[in-house]
Symmetry: C2
Subunit: 415 residues, 2 copies
Amino acid sequence: MSAHQSEQVDRANARALRLLYDAEPVLVDVRPAIEVIPGMTKDTVLTSGPPLHWDAYTGGQRTAILGGVLHEGLASSTAEAERLLSREAVRVAGCHDFGAVGSLAGVTTASMPVLVVEDAGSGNRGYCTLFEGAAPARLNYGVYDASVQQNLEYLASVIGPALGAAVRLLDGGIPLRPIMARALRQGDELHSRNTAASALFLQEILPGLFDLGADLAREVVAYLTSGDYFFLRPSMAAAKAMADRMYGAEGSSVVTAMAFSCAEFGIRVAGLGPRWFRGPLPEVEHARFFPGHDLGDMEIMGGESLITEVCGLGAFAQAAAFTLQNYQGKPEVMVRRNLEMYRITAGEHEVFKIPFLEYRGTPAGIDVRKVVATGVTPALDVGIAGKGGGQIGAGSFRAPLQPFADACAALDQLN
Amino acid sequence: MSAHQSEQVDRANARALRLLYDAEPVLVDVRPAIEVIPGMTKDTVLTSGPPLHWDAYTGGQRTAILGGVLHEGLASSTAEAERLLSREAVRVAGCHDFGAVGSLAGVTTASMPVLVVEDAGSGNRGYCTLFEGAAPARLNYGVYDASVQQNLEYLASVIGPALGAAVRLLDGGIPLRPIMARALRQGDELHSRNTAASALFLQEILPGLFDLGADLAREVVAYLTSGDYFFLRPSMAAAKAMADRMYGAEGSSVVTAMAFSCAEFGIRVAGLGPRWFRGPLPEVEHARFFPGHDLGDMEIMGGESLITEVCGLGAFAQAAAFTLQNYQGKPEVMVRRNLEMYRITAGEHEVFKIPFLEYRGTPAGIDVRKVVATGVTPALDVGIAGKGGGQIGAGSFRAPLQPFADACAALDQLN
């Protein structure tokens, strides 16, 4: 790339960052996926990562996809679900191609309530399913059984409709960016820690909840305050709506998506459209496993919550969340890792700031050129699933270099 | 003091710390002061600091005491209130002598609703009035006018009774220590910053609020979420109930109270009972003033929120609250100041911990001997009042050495 071309990319990246910084994600509704996600059908199952052929999904992600088919009542047995998927009577597709993002396996089906987050300026929408609650057995962690099915039905019949009704009662919905900016001042990094943001969200939705009546309101509050993890999903949907704005910056080398399936990690780049650049799975840099588990029990079953890192959150804001030290390393390690991310980003976020770094903006806008030049790949704050399903820990991972190198080469060819 | 005597004091301090660490403050009620504070009468005005003769109260603290007399309807004019106070028809007394603690001027009168915090083990009770809300004109900041009076009436007629009813509906009240421990992980130090704790408190009281009906519940939520400062008062009352346990440790050199009036700073020590050791007012170490104000506008009008520092909070937990950097100095300064406090404390808190310091317990139990030996006096996170009333800033102050030296000498005489 010539100096002239390089300057052009710099300018495009500045445009991408401006789009990112000016995003104003607002939770406007909670509705069944089929009612709000364009292109969604009864016989579609969305899942995490650069899409694969059905045969390539294994382990927990495969279990979750099959569970999605059963949950929708498209099949009455796993064997039947397998047959429908094999002959493509049920379609498996990537969340990102539908404006959605999935947590872990990320299975999203027609009847599941999704958070609808709209960017005020662009009208972009990001969708994400609801936190399944504190129960250890969850579809997104690769488990499908009677308790998971019952919980999904509860979310669809009680929690989703109540949240939707409350949000619609609040004029203009719930602006999420102020919650996110505040949560960074209260120890969240909005990927592996969402404790403060969940509490702030509760405060915002509360006036709407009161109108639903005491019993239902109490039930929704119990759901929202269980597990301190509710806000991860609004954070993800908001990040999707924000990140997608950057596709408007033609020629930019800034990353617009990172995601993985059970088999591959992939990125998208603003100047290269919806094309996935694929590579091997991320590797563990530092992790902690729940009692009775170790690295040998780990199974990667997909994940798209890395959309938060794309927006300067998660591992890019680790120094805001020292309570994660057991999972990610001592505070000094977290600070060092956070500072390292400035080496591979095009800017510093104007709204998301880190108190410990004297309110320096988070490193924002991963530049594939800088990743290749430094050999430093993005750090990723992720939850860890176990073989056989369920969460067994959490940690800080590293993305592979290959997709960034390939994207860089593709950008070179473009110029 | 001989080596033998010194060891005896060490053992007494260990007992004091055990009492402190094992405290379990619970908000059990919110009631008018006269109904719950032993010894309170219609014609008593409690105020901050080692008590002075009425003549000695000046400026905002004097204004607030007069305001208290008017608010209670004991006089119909300021002149009449002055007369009643001069001939002691209305009694002025120190909050601490009634189990109470006051914010800034700390005026507490018979009809004012107070938080009733009870220590589960000892039955000790700590009392504190309610946060007056986000309005700039507040009695505790030395202002008394029609708007202040109206707000006090609103607190007494609507907010206090509603909070009391909600707390009583919750079986066993609201345990405050878990909220405080969690808030330290969310960027609060529970003196100058109470944002997270206020949100956590809201979550705990919510089930009780729902039973009050939607309209009243909505009103209480609006109050609880205005200004992010509600929880300072529960924090103070809890600290009072916790600190008072330490009087049980005979011979201990650990501080059980720090407080100041408009004229004097004072401390109490576990082994020396209710006697105040008095000295000059604290001095500003680092402060920030709101636009249009500077150090020359500052007026000290009392304050007992330093009871939080007595319990290892506030300035003793600055490294938990980097968002206060504008008021207290850069993060590295805050960390250094926080670490310095370990030089003058007898222990490290077993429950209150600081994530950035790798979950080290906060420095707890100020040992007057160590203060004298090092010349390091306690740092204090305080709000700053302006001449003529109202808040004009906040900062980190330093206690004077004299009272610690005097207490140390008194302990020596005891031994």
